[in-house]
């Protein structure tokens, strides 16, 4: 997770604030042009934000635990060496535990590929990144715990199925 602190992240961090600034400007314009729409939208925003506020605390706690205990670099090193069932478990596990934007992971995967990482395992890693444990409370809030559990199970299953299918197609 240390990649989050690299200087290259500064541009995307500023991008987030620019986006928020643009939304506030949009609201100002809407407020001038259509006060009723502005009021309805703002009421909806405040209501949703109030609902979600406690989840930010849960998210912080999960991120803290991840930073404290998960060393994704170590998992990635194992991934390059692992084969068979262990390889699938490592690739899916590494995908779930990996944090940060995807573009930061492509060079790492490229390096691992040159060291012999199987394409199916790379695909499983990319697919299982869909599961972000610190963000699951938000999914559970909107869709319920059963939905979230099914989502996680399906993504894990399809990570391996997709990886295996891709490996087969690549061989043809």
């Amino acid at each position: 997770m240390a990649e989050e602190n690299k200087p290259g992240r500064r541009a995307s961090r500023r991008g987030g604030w620019w986006f928020l600034g643009a939304m506030l400007l949009l609201y100002l314009i809407v407020g001038r042009l259509d006060p009723a729409l502005f009021e309805a939208s703002l009421t909806g925003f405040v209501s949703t934000l109030t609902d979600l506020l406690p989840l930010f605390g849960v998210m912080f706690l999960l991120l803290w635990l991840f930073n404290l205990y998960v060393r994704s670099g170590r998992v990635m090193k194992q991934l390059a060496r692992a084969g068979g069932m262990r390889g699938w478990i490592f690739s899916v596990g590494a995908g779930v535990l990996s944090m940060g934007p995807m573009y930061l992971w492509y060079p790492v995967l490229g390096q691992l590929r040159s060291e012999g990482l199987r394409p199916g395992l790379a695909a499983a890693f990319l697919y299982s990144r869909a599961i972000k444990i610190p963000m699951l409370p938000f999914m559970a809030h909107y869709f319920g715990a059963s939905y979230s559990a099914l989502f996680v199970t399906s993504v894990l299953l399809f990570s391996v199925l997709g990886g295996a299918a891709l490996e087969r197609l690549e061989r043809q």
């Binding site: 506030l24 930010f56 991120l63 060393r71 697919y127 963000m135 199925l161 997709g162």
Partner: protein
């Protein structure tokens, strides 16, 4: 010896909290911005539904959701917020699930970068398989949930 090395690698609770705060601060403006945008767009959602963007057959909803999710880029949590609001506005769970799954698994915006590392064949095949699996998951989850 190994456990001592592992403990030395590990950040202190304070450092871990700083890193977590940093990540959260990166996400916060995007999430608040997206909530503002969704709150505004949700005022138009009934009209979009009436216009037929969603609300057709389940297959059509799944295709529309997966296509929108494939071209979108951003944090997975944004797709949860968007999907949740769409579902609350009456969009079917099939369409919303296709959107959420494709959002986090298909990366059309990353395709050139992925192709540069793995080759075009790998990148196109992987994204196609992810799109198809988004459609499958979109039908599996509601089917299991609603028996």
């Amino acid at each position: 010896m190994n456990s001592a090395k592992r403990a030395a690698d590990r950040p202190s609770p304070r450092e871990a909290a700083t890193q977590a705060g940093y990540i959260l601060m990166n996400l916060l403006p995007v999430m608040i911005g997206v909530l503002l945008l969704i709150s505004l767009l949700s005022q138009f959602l009934p009209r979009l539904l009436e216009a037929g963007l969603f609300g057709g057959s389940p297959i059509q909803d799944a295709l529309v959701g997966a296509s929108l999710g494939s071209v979108a880029a951003g944090q997975p949590v944004v797709s949860y917020l968007l999907g949740g609001e769409l579902n609350g506005s009456g969009v079917s769970l099939v369409g919303v699930t296709a959107l959420v799954v494709a959002w986090v698994t298909v990366g059309l915006s990353h395709l050139p970068m992925e192709a540069q590392v793995f080759g075009w064949r790998f990148a196109v095949l992987r994204n196609l398989l992810a799109f198809v699996s988004a459609l499958c998951i979109a039908f599996i989850i509601p089917a299991v949930l609603h028996g």
